[in-house]
């Protein structure tokens, strides 16, 4: 690698090298809180660097872009890593997470997500995707005493391997047909019909979408989601449910940027995936009595909405997807932060019956949870509303009217399952027992997520302007 290339990848290098350094330090000085705080500081530094950075090259090794789009996501995922580490400090202490390893893995996950979001070549996609999934296999099962955690880790591993198989095979087929792995050229070749083996190429693209479907849990590839969400330690869940999905969507936006040229073959597949995800996810979520499982199915539905935006494409579709990723990340991270802050010794109050009447025992956190759930449901004045508004607007603009109607129907029904925890918290007669009073670090994360969700709902102008600049 040349110096210019290294300079261009600087933000991600800071994160990855910082992670390695912390792993080393952790081997000799296994102090959990200081290491996590140090990791947080490095992640924040990465975010700032990515923000201010002027890379010398627009693309590194033909695999990763260093443009504003890539740097936007690098910043976002670094911030997410910082928040996850901040959130894990009490939880990790109580559950005795291995200090160096945990911090290092979370940071590696962030680096992987950033790489994935900035991929411009299919090799880059594979590298990015695998580097953070590999980390997540470990992170999900990092709580050695938790049986559910081990189960979740194994499930994620098996499903992840299947997805990797699909991805690699798809890439091979695309390469066979186009002779290139660089996304813009590959798209152009397939689109122009210049590829000699066009059907093979399209099959490759189809398999690629299946692999992506596994990672972001679109129906019918979603079956792992509820079990994994239920078993994963809540802080890791925060990372898994926001970053890993958002990063895949970031690259999906690149992959399908010229969906119209690939054309008739892929659009119906994506259309069906979006519609089925919204409907099946909604109906499955209705039956849940466990907050984390409900959030799992709700994430399936949200991925369906996001696919709406990807499908719509164009400037408004792309900007809607970016806005949605941020708004969804803020609300979902917040919800997992609440679960974390209620947890005593890793025992999370997931079932609705544990939450009964909690609104009067822990009024602040309960109302904040209600606020996040309303944001996920898309009720103003939360960020979730404007996010959903943007996606629907883009979809109508691109004439996907039926899909929008499905989306509206799904959001109407979804209200019911988002309100159920709220009802349990505030409107049930019986009282649950007091949960953990919460820790300052957790409150800090909550305050940030709350502010972000509220500001995005009332005054989204700065973020929209930033997204506009990023998308150029």
């Amino acid at each position: 690698m040349t110096g210019a290339e290294l300079q261009s990848l600087l933000p991600i290098l800071i994160l990855a090298l910082g992670a390695t350094m912390l792993l080393m330090i952790g081997a000799w000085w296994p102090a959990r809180r200081p290491l996590m705080l140090l990791g947080m500081a490095i992640a924040v530094a990465t975010a700032v660097t990515a923000w201010q950075h002027l890379p010398q090259l627009p693309e590194v090794a033909g695999m990763f872009s260093t443009g504003p789009y890539a740097r936007f996501f690098t910043s976002l995922w670094s911030l997410l890593v910082a928040l996850t580490l901040l959130l894990s400090s009490r939880y990790g202490e109580e559950r005795r997470f291995p200090p160096g390893e945990y911090t290092c893995l979370v940071m590696f996950a962030g680096a992987g997500m950033s790489l994935l979001s900035s991929a411009t070549s299919l090799v880059g996609v594979l590298l990015g995707l695998e580097s953070f999934t590999l980390v997540l296999y470990i992170l999900i099962a990092i709580d050695k005493q938790s049986l559910r955690g081990a189960e979740a880790g194994l499930k994620y591993l098996v499903m992840g391997l299947v997805a990797t198989g699909f991805l690699a095979f798809g890439m091979a087929l695309i390469y066979a047909s186009c002779g290139t792995l660089h996304i813009p050229e590959a798209l152009q070749q397939v689109g122009a019909g210049g590829a000699e083996l066009r059907p093979v190429g399209l099959l490759g693209w189809g398999m690629l979408i299946c692999a992506v479907g596994f990672k972001v849990s679109l129906v019918p590839f979603h079956l792992w989601t509820p079990d994994v969400y239920q078993g994963v330690p809540a802080p890791v869940g925060a990372l898994l449910s926001t970053g890993s999905k958002g990063a895949v969507f970031a690259v999906l936006l690149t992959l399908l940027s010229s969906l119209a040229t690939i054309g008739q073959f892929l659009i119906p597949i994506v259309w069906i995936l979006a519609a089925v995800s919204m409907l099946v996810g909604t109906l499955s979520a209705l039956r849940q009595d466990n907050l984390k499982r409900m959030l799992a199915y709700s994430s399936v539905v949200h991925m369906g909405y996001l696919l709406n935006g990807v499908l719509a494409g164009g400037p408004s579709g792309r900007s809607a997807v970016l806005f949605y990723i941020v708004a969804y990340a803020a609300a979902n991270l917040g919800a997992f932060a609440i679960i974390t802050s209620f947890a005593i010794q890793g025992e999370e109050a997931q079932n609705y019956r544990d939450l009964r009447g909690l609104g009067y025992l822990h009024p602040r956190r309960s109302s904040i949870l209600a606020f996040f759930l309303l944001s996920l449901a898309g009720i103003p004045p939360t960020g979730g509303f404007l996010a959903k508004f943007g996606v629907f607007r883009a979809a109508i603009e691109a004439d996907y009217l039926v899909l929008t109607l499905v989306g509206v129907l799904a959001s109407l029904i979804s209200l019911y399952y988002y309100l159920r925890p709220v009802i349990v918290l505030f409107m049930s007669k019986e009282r649950a027992v007091c949960l953990h009073p919460g820790h300052t670090t957790e409150f800090a994360v909550l305050a940030l997520c709350l502010t972000a969700t509220l500001v995005l709902g009332i005054y989204p102008e700065p973020l929209l302007a930033l997204i506009h600049a990023v998308l150029g």
Binding site: Y360, I423, M427, E461, L464, H468
Partner: protein, 501 residues
């Protein structure tokens, strides 16, 4: 966009901000119930004072009292635009006044008082926003903002099947709103494609040529509003919500939330889609008459006083919608006046019902009776507002109803004739309620105390305005003249056939 008066005080933002400030205050000082109560009362009182101040401001040529306009989300073309014309002025006055009353009647709220008042104020902010916003996205934001506090007021402080009623309320209104949101997006995109200017400003969107889509967009808007009104096939959430809601919740629901539906039709649906609106009038008239009779009949069947008043509310809203559908200027003025009157009288009846329940522990007419001897002051007020509600001349509802009937007679004599028969229905169920509560044998049990001075004062205030509206409605009709005639002429809704010009 109309200019309005350039004042250096952002009065409209102040109106919105005061209740929000109160909400924040109540949440911060939630440990101190008395402080929250007084602060809430103060906030509503100041809001009322500001609303009354607006009443004395001059009007500009386009009928606006005040206009405020700030940039909000330039990327989407949404602006923070608030405006007040005669119609919204009356609605804002009603809102500010009824919220003040709502605080007074829930003075003894024991269950989480600070939270209760915080939600009450948050709802006031949402309702005021709905009445003042002239940017469609901003309007939608306030429109949904009203729902959340009401959901909690019913669900937390209600009696009986409160959760069921709260969820039903939320789902029904949200279903309508989401369809409306689709219509808003559709209109926004159409306008943007035609002019290249993507905007949510009401005045600009009026010039959109919707072509064959117009009827669908209009239907989307109307569905959102008609669920809230509610007209008859969409009304089932209302009796359930009223039955369980706390006193102040019912007062707000009947007095204000229902009015937002009618207001939305007048402010958005009719002016945006005049051609479809004109075509829909006969259909609307049929819906109105159906509601008038069906709800009246339902009211007659009820044993629960509060449920009876809830159905009577649906019936009265039928008269209001009839005024909209008749296409006559007088009837429309009457309909808007009736909105104010109905807010006062029905609001007062709901307040009385909650006082009744606090004394007797029941609202079943079978278990009530003999109030007249036991609690004369209470009974006098009850009789007074019941008579006002059935349309006794000289009291509030009469002045509105008579205008609606006169106007309807001019354009659609048969509708008018039928609607007048509806008054007989109103008399039947109202008198049955009065008879059941005030007269007859008193059931055995503890004595029922009469009104306290605070309750008496609150009701006296309501009675004063009921009399004013009945005896001299011109005060409140005057601001309506210009906006109503502009609405009708601007959108060609004046009835083309039948009756006199």
């Amino acid at each position: 966009m109309a200019t309005g008066n350039v004042t250096y005080y952002p009065l409209l933002s102040l109106l919105l901000g005061l209740p929000l400030l109160g909400t924040a205050f109540c949440l911060l000082f939630r440990k101190n119930a008395a402080l929250c109560r007084w602060f809430t009362l103060g906030a509503t009182l100041v809001a009322l004072a500001v609303a009354i101040w607006c009443f004395f401001l001059p009007v500009d040529v386009n009928g606006w009292y005040l206009v405020e306009d700030y940039p909000w989300i330039p990327q989407l073309g949404a602006r923070f635009t608030l405006a007040m014309d005669g119609i919204s002025l009356l609605m804002v006055l009603l809102t500010a006044f009824l919220q003040f009353v709502a605080v007074l009647i829930s003075w003894h709220q024991k269950k989480h008082p600070a939270l209760f008042f915080a939600l009450l104020l948050l709802m006031e902010s949402g309702i005021l926003g709905v009445f003042m916003a002239t940017d469609l996205l901003l309007f939608y934001l306030f429109w949904e903002l009203m729902l959340i506090p009401m959901f909690f007021l019913i669900g937390v402080w209600g009696h009986g099947r409160r959760v069921y009623a709260a969820v039903k309320f939320f789902l029904f209104t949200l279903a309508g709103s989401l369809v409306m949101l689709l219509a808003i997006i559709g209109l926004y995109l159409l306008h943007g494609r035609q002019t290249g200017d993507y905007t949510f400003a009401l005045e600009l969107l009026k010039s959109t040529d919707c072509g064959s889509l117009e009827i669908w967009l209009f239907a989307g808007f109307m569905l959102g509003f008609l669920v809230k009104v509610p007209v008859v096939p969409l009304h089932t959430w209302l009796p359930d919500a009223h039955t369980v809601a706390p006193g102040a919740g019912s007062l707000d629901l009947a007095g204000l939330l229902l009015k937002t539906g009618v207001f939305g039709i007048l402010r958005f649906a009719f002016p945006l889609f005049p051609a479809s609106a004109a075509k829909s009038l006969p259909f609307l008239g049929v819906l109105a008459l159906t509601g008038l009779f069906y709800a009246g009949w339902c009211a007659y069947q009820q044993g629960d006083v509060k449920r009876l008043i809830a159905y009577s509310s649906v019936s009265h809203l039928g008269v209001i919608v009839l005024g909209l559908a008749s296409g006559s200027e007088i009837a429309l003025q009457g309909a808007i006046l009736l909105m104010v009157c109905h807010g006062l009288t029905t609001g007062a009846l709901f307040a009385l019902t909650s006082m009744l329940r606090r004394r007797t522990g029941t609202r079943e007419m079978a278990k009530l009776g003999g109030m007249w001897h036991e609690a004369p002051v209470f009974s006098w007020f009850f009789l007074f507002f019941a008579l006002a509600s059935l349309g006794l001349p000289g009291l509030a509802n009469f002045s509105g109803e008579i205008l609606v009937f006169v106007g309807t007679f001019k354009t659609h004599p048969w509708w008018g004739a039928l609607a007048v028969v509806g008054v007989v229905f109103a008399a039947a169920y109202t008198l049955r309620m009065v008879q059941g509560v005030l007269w007859g044998e008193r059931p055995p049990g503890r004595p029922w105390p009469d009104l306290t001075w605070r309750e008496g004062m609150t009701l006296g205030l309501l009675a004063f305005f009921t009399l004013w509206l009945g005896l001299h409605p011109a005060t409140f009709l005057e601001p309506l003249q210009q906006p109503v005639s502009m609405l009708l002429q601007g959108s060609h809704l004046l009835a083309q056939a039948g009756g006199l010009p």
